[in-house]
Symmetry: C2
């Protein structure tokens, strides 16, 4: 450890307390990765206790010129939480208090280290929930959800963190502290810094408190499953469902290749000629949800639908989900390496996307499996290959480039919820024009004049 780093570490220990500062590389090691599987070793990991300690830590970083990253649970898949090599990790696990649950005003005030699950449990006691529901919701933190604008299946009806967060307390890269946003569902005083912060992946500021907007728990939920001859028919069903007044609270797609992967595990219920599958959930008042489910089922019965089933019992619900549930374990074992993208296209363009992917898979000889949040047009594209096998890795890379080109042709976007991090950083300039990018870099400099906050993430390298 260099003398100046040691001085910094001692000063930081004075802020967070010596037991809350990790200096040993072995102790720091686990804080160097996230679910992108990338890794960089931080010099130090601090566990501040509260807003003030975060602020002082950031001010120290400015004094010493040390880069830092704020860290939740490290469940992100794009590398946004991978620290700057030799920098500081601010692990926010001690900022895990629920400060206020205010059902009368449909809001909840939390610190960033609280898990999504804990938020849901605290809200449920009062008859509410917070809509964002990433797959990792048992362990991921609200701070990470906000940093990445992480959503999940419910977003199709209830929106992403941007639509479900009212206000933030934060510290900028220069160590300034502020509250932005309002405690109400309307507010137009000042610029909307709340949404600017959300999805900025820790590059503009560190969130130390969030006012979450709560939604009343629906009384009842129904589950439907539609099986289609081909992806075109499934996409038409998605458009038909989204074109009628009942918006489902989940509208999940599996393509033909995904169905093939799970056929063995899926039980007898999957017809041999199934080319695509939709899992649909409809929620609402108990007295209305039957009708709502019928309306969605009617919309789902487009030409090319092989069966559209509505579960009547919990056992039937479990049976309908069996096919979808079999997918994740099947994918894990399908190939030594998997690139998992989360591109988005307008729902009407999904057939073009999937057709293009089939063509790309053949051309680049890559096994491609698609599933995802069809109601938002948010498709998880999985490229499966064995990197040990000849030029498979470079073929997969080229395939990925073609995928991104196609997505942009279809007026889509490169990431719906996983974020940019390190992994997609070099593709951002293909979606965002040079003038907007220059503006974003300039905004970053306003929040973080010394460039210390999560450098090299979110935006292409200047």
């Amino acid at each position: 450890m260099s003398p100046s780093l040691a001085t910094f570490a001692d000063a930081l220990a004075g802020v967070v307390g010596a037991p809350n500062l990790r200096r040993d590389p072995d102790a720091c090691w686990p804080y160097g990765y996230d679910n992108s599987r990338r890794h960089a070793l931080p010099a130090l990991v601090a566990h501040p206790a509260d807003h003030n300690e975060v602020r002082e830590a950031i001010r120290l970083c400015n004094r010493f010129g040390l880069p830092l990253v704020a860290r939740g649970a490290g469940t992100g898949t794009a590398g946004a939480a991978v620290p700057p090599e030799g920098g500081l990790v601010l692990a926010l696990d001690r900022l895990n208090r629920i400060l206020q649950v205010d059902p009368a005003n449909r809001l909840m005030v939390v610190e960033p280290g609280v898990t999504n699950r804990a938020v849901q449990e605290a809200a449920r006691e009062h008859g509410f929930f917070w809509p964002p529901d990433p797959t990792s919701s048992d362990v991921c933190t609200v701070g990470g959800n906000l940093a990445c604008n992480a959503a999940g299946p419910r977003a199709v009806k209830y929106g992403t963190p941007r639509e479900n967060t009212l206000a933030l307390r934060l510290i900028t890269g220069s160590g300034d502290e502020m509250r932005v946003g309002v405690h109400t569902t309307k507010g137009v005083v000042g610029y909307d810094l709340t949404r600017l912060m959300i999805g900025s992946e820790g590059t503009l500021g560190v969130i130390t408190e969030a006012v979450l907007r709560l939604t009343p728990l629906p009384e009842a939920k129904h589950t439907l499953r539609g099986i289609y001859r081909d992806i075109g028919a499934a996409a038409r069903a998605v458009s038909a469902i989204m074109g009628q007044p009942v918006t489902p609270c989940a509208l999940e797609l599996m393509d033909r290749r995904a169905l093939e992967l799970v056929r063995d595990r899926a039980g007898a219920s999957l017809p041999a000629d199934a080319g695509a599958l939709l899992m649909i959930e409809v929620d609402g008042a108990a007295a209305c949800v039957d009708h709502a489910a019928e309306a969605v089922a009617a919309a789902a019965r487009v030409d090319g639908a092989l069966q559209v089933e509505l579960a009547k019992t919990p056992a039937e619900v479990a049976e309908l989900w069996q096919v979808r549930r079999a997918l994740s374990p099947a994918l894990r074992n399908a190939a030594p390496k998997k690139i998992n993208e989360d591109v988005v296209v307008p729902v009407s363009r999904m057939p073009e996307l999937i057709a293009g992917l089939e063509e790309m898979g053949r051309h680049h000889r890559i096994d491609i499996v698609n599933f995802g949040h069809a109601g938002n047009g948010n498709i998880h594209v999985n490229l499966l290959f064995d990197p040990e096998q000849g030029d498979a890795a470079s073929r997969a890379e080229r395939c990925l480039g073609d995928l991104f080109d196609l997505v942009l042709q279809l007026e889509g976007t490169l990431s719906g919820e996983h974020g940019i991090g390190l992994v997609k950083r070099d593709f951002v300039a293909s979606e965002i024009g040079p003038e907007a990018l220059a503006l974003m870099h300039a905004l970053k400099s306003v929040f973080d004049p010394n460039g210390l906050l999560n450098p090299g993430k979110k935006l292409p390298l200047g």
Copy 2:
């Protein structure tokens, strides 16, 4: 006209065409005001035809150092559209095309000069609507709605422009052009400049195209009216309504003084001891809306409710609305001068707000009438007085200062939808701290380095 202004005008005429440039002060005069009743005479008014002409006009302004404001219909009440004295008005009435209606993807692409009403009509043909519904929706423009984040009654269920806009095309103050946002309901590539632009009152850029997110039209709507002994009971009803799963699509309040004003016009249906009134609308699928309305009615029947009625026929709907409809004409004639604020507080704090207002009215001897969007806690506070009468104007000013202090104490915000413009500019610093304000000024400088875009609006003077 100074030689350099004349040179500028000739160059601008070359961009927009001479017939689309007003130089005569009499012709420019009507473009100097908005519904705040403030006025400043612009030197020139240009009517550009499209994005490219707007861009070239802004670049010319940069070359000559001339400030400018983009203008919709001038219906704003806070002075955001009042031009910089001696500057340029970019009247966007010719950018009034609906470029695309895409029901399959629930979106619509429009130019900023199209009226809110035209948007609704084009959407309705496909079974959709765009939620923002300011009172001026017949004439106000989408560009103005976005600039001010203007909402209306439906926001309680369907959100404001920030929740209902996917992407923008814009030109910054320095004349850079860009597209921001996505054509989909999810997207995390780059920073969220879309919401940063929305509500920025033309101080960051000029919007030349917007991708609006559409919502399916509900099949049916029911109207309810609750009459309460006092505002406390009405506020409890609002919290009870917002705490159950059916969110109404309008939840409008009138206080005791508002009821007194309309008693003569309101017909016999208003009980003598009415202390507050709620107008409630519930929409949804035809088969569900009866049940939904019953659920809301049950929640509305709190202790202190005098009557909660559900209209069964169009005639009954009209009768229930009669009291509310009588308010606007009554207010117009109630006093020579009216200050109309649109503060917001968390819904549970509304009784404290109204009690405080009653006290302020007595203390400052100002007649105060309150109504508004109770579901959002967004209360239109009307201070009525005769400025010719002694020190009434200065008493009203002091009363306004007390009101804003109280709103902030109650964790509220100074404006829910009217915006800041010129009128509330000097109060912003009481809500937003100095560090956040300095950041906002710095962001403004990034978008508009020469300070030409609507100078002196939205933020306190630097």
